[in-house]
Symmetry: C2
Subunit: 486 residues, 2 copies
């Protein structure tokens, strides 16, 4: 593993995890206990992920972008008795301990932390980065909960999706059987470890025995540099991150060693995919959720061009269907709710039997996402069901309108929501962020849309803004837009 | 898939399997029914493997080298009601049906069979060989028996090891996580499909979505040609096959596209491994049994040289221990019986509760093989426990003596057994096959052994023979040697 704390072989990581395990045990962490982590990506965070598993404790990675109120709710809801934090989150952690209303033991994760210091942090070097396959004998009960990841519901408080060892393992196996595993693979984690997309990279690294390059957070230039210099073969990103990487990169092509850019976090704008195809960027679309422990469907790399725009087929062991509103299976190309079943699907939401039985019916996870399957069974994701705009009886998918706007050279980002309309019930409204230093009028954009979209899909109004609210994983927060402009 | 019947894409194979499924259904094959196959490797055999699974029937691949008496026993013991056979085995099959004493429906598997003819057999071409990932939705209960493979016990009749869908799946997954999966992989099956080592290649092919090159039987020149011309990246062999490949190959190096020569079927002679190392042949040792659905431990490719002679570490999900005679765990380097536990281990022997509980104790399969683990947990396989020679209280491992003999340039093959000795209880006797056209005396070989082996390991007598009895998988049949020379 390569991180800002230096480079660790698997053997060294194993030692660091042993030391972290001892430290947690001394703190009082026991099997079944819940260990919360409030930290940006770091080597100590990685050690905690594995140390918690060795103790049979449940890991609760907290989103470091949330408010203290939201964090407090998650800690309380999950019954966490321990809170590990990095230096940057010390004050928040101490504040949380003060208001927890119950004992909450804190532990600061130094950087480099004690374990790494003891084994000696070494400079990044080729020899130490070699993935050594250490298959040690550890037995995990696949039905036990390994992780709780809170996922923002559309209404009310976030819910804690329980992910078992089996969920994480099957997710990793399914990904391996789709994307392949090469001895020299190195997966770059620049997504936060407190999201499934980032965390799953750590699991894959130890299950496959491949290297992991860990970035504290996403910086386009650093990502591009790591691809050039750190032997990164796979990187997980969302659309906005990829846009920024390409903008930063300019004309400079990526090396052949980069074999897969795994693109998730929502429907990808077609112009971005076409840009990647033109530049020879090996982009592979995926569709996944916290509740599926990351990827549920992924396009096979060799189909990236022939099925442009599709999120592919279900990973091995996973099944995907699309349902009409009446619960019947939709026909080919017919949009409906995406439902997912398989060994990587969450066993439910912690302490929420009602929400669990609403989401999981007959083993099928009802995702709330809208999409369709083509005649060959390839999934196309359209949008969140809750974001769907119904205008004059017609379905308008915000992602489609956003993609049209984003194909305008002056547009950096676009977010589309439905607003009340006397005549049509609802009508689309677009919030647009222009590229730096570029001026564009709303009339210009409206006429651009009119040329590309059906009348009912064309925004009624375009608002120019400075920025769009996004989650830590880079997903557009349309709920925020609705609150502000709705 | 490339075979003598032509080349099939996954889509075409899927169609062929559909047609075979219909044919079997018409014949009366139902879920739970046992379908025996008596055939050399062929495309129709492959179609049967998958068609049986689609019908939920249990596959019974029969060893085409067995006598009619042995085959009759297996068919009767397994309760097979259907016997599919290739042309070469027509007479045997008809004979079996006549003496079965119960209804046994026959079906000849034409070559190319009806299904392939209908979809049009095509010449081998690059475009049609591309592995297309077809992930169709089929649900299998992992705890159901998919295959029965008879394994020759050391005493009495062969026993039918029941292998479940889960056994085969976990075997494939464990192999993937160790050897990796590359999009352009093609695995050459020149081991018989009626052995776990050959059959497992078919499962990996469809689970990984990689190509399979199928040879009717093993011919060194054809294997070498396929490696050069058919894009073979992995080939499964036993030691004798590899020797013959190298002999046939001469000075001509293998292409870089050949990334793994998976060597199983018993302890590998060190001279062979050293020969491979010198030639740059990417040989990777594995240890496995019918009861583990093929590989149980495999050396990682990057450790092939640093751990020369080891069969590696357990595959993901599998555990291996070495036990003393009293059942306690042996220390590092201490030989004892190899025991294996994990999701790829057979659920038991069909209709043999006693043999099952003898072999499987607390989930641990007692293999009857002797080996040791080094301090880092790497397995070294010494020999079959039943082949162990105890001479004057000292353990003599026949494989070690055979390896010494095989390092003599005049020796093609060697088999060592224990024979009664008045003074030492037992003493080693060696049966040696000289290389073609080479003359060597037993005195010469004895003095060669004396220089290389301890006195008690040196054969008491060397017998020169024309050939050694081997199983279809190429394993030396020491039982035969004992009957003849013991």
């Amino acid at each position: 593993m390569i991180s800002a704390d230096g480079s660790l072989t698997f053997r060294e990581l194993d030692q660091a995890v042993d030391e972290m395990t001892s430290e947690l045990a001394v703190m009082g962490v026991k099997a079944g206990g819940v260990v919360a982590v409030l930290s940006w990506n770091s080597a100590p965070f990685v050690a905690v992920v594995h140390a918690a598993a060795r103790l049979g404790a449940v890991l609760l990675p907290l989103n470091a972008r949330l408010s203290a109120d939201e964090l407090g709710w998650q800690i309380k809801d999950a019954g966490a008795a321990f809170l590990l934090h990095d230096e940057a989150n010390t004050m928040v952690a101490e504040g949380l301990a003060a208001v927890a209303g119950r004992p909450l033991k804190l532990l600061g994760l130094g950087s480099p932390f004690e374990g790494l210091r003891m084994s000696g942090v070494r400079a990044v070097s080729d020899s130490s980065m070699t993935a050594r396959r250490q298959r040690t004998e550890r037995r995990f009960d696949l039905s036990e909960v390994q992780t709780i990841l809170y996922t923002s519901g559309t209404t009310g408080r976030a819910k804690g999706a329980m992910l078992t060892y089996g969920n994480h393992l099957w997710s990793a196996v399914g990904s391996a059987l789709n994307l392949g595993v090469q001895t020299d693979d190195r997966w770059l984690a620049c997504l936060p470890l407190f999201h499934a997309g980032g965390l799953s990279i750590l699991h894959r690294s130890v299950i496959y025995g491949i290297g992991c390059v860990l970035h504290e957070s996403f910086e386009p230039a650093r990502v591009n540099k790591a691809i050039d210099e750190d032997g990164v073969t796979i990187v997980s990103v969302v659309a906005l991150m990829l846009e920024q990487m390409l903008d930063e990169r300019g004309e400079n092509p990526y090396p052949a060693s980069l074999r897969c850019v795994l693109l998730g976090g929502g429907p990808a704008p077609r112009p971005l995919l076409e840009r990647c195809a033109a530049l020879g960027v090996p982009v592979v679309q995926t569709y996944g959720l916290t509740e599926t422990a990351s990827q549920a469907t992924t396009l096979a790399p060799e189909e990236a061009l022939s099925k442009l725009g599709s999120a592919g087929k279900p990973l091995f062991g996973t099944e995907v269907r699309v349902l009409r509103d009446d619960g019947a299976e939709a026909g080919p190309e017919e949009p409906g709710e995406i439902v997912v079943r398989g060994p990587a699907v969450t066993v439910g939401y912690l302490g929420q039997p009602k929400a669990t039985s609403r989401a999981l019916r007959g083993g099928w996870l009802h995702t709330g996402d809208i999409g369709y399957l083509d005649a060959e069974g390839y999934l196309y994701v359209l949008d969140r069901r809750d974001d769907l705009i119904i205008s004059g009886g017609e379905n308008v998918y915000p992602a489609e309108v956003e993609a049209a706007l984003q194909s305008h050279p002056a547009v950096a980002e676009a977010g589309v929501i439905g607003v009340a309309d006397e005549r049509w019930g609802q009508a689309p409204l677009a919030v647009v962020v222009a590229r730096k230093g570029v001026v564009v009028s709303d009339e210009e954009l409206l006429s651009f849309c009119r040329e590309r979209l059906a009348g009912y899909k064309t925004p009624k109004r375009i608002v120019l803004a400075e920025a769009l609210a996004r989650t830590a994983a880079g997903k557009l927060m349309r709920g925020e837009l609705r609150q502000r402009y709705g």
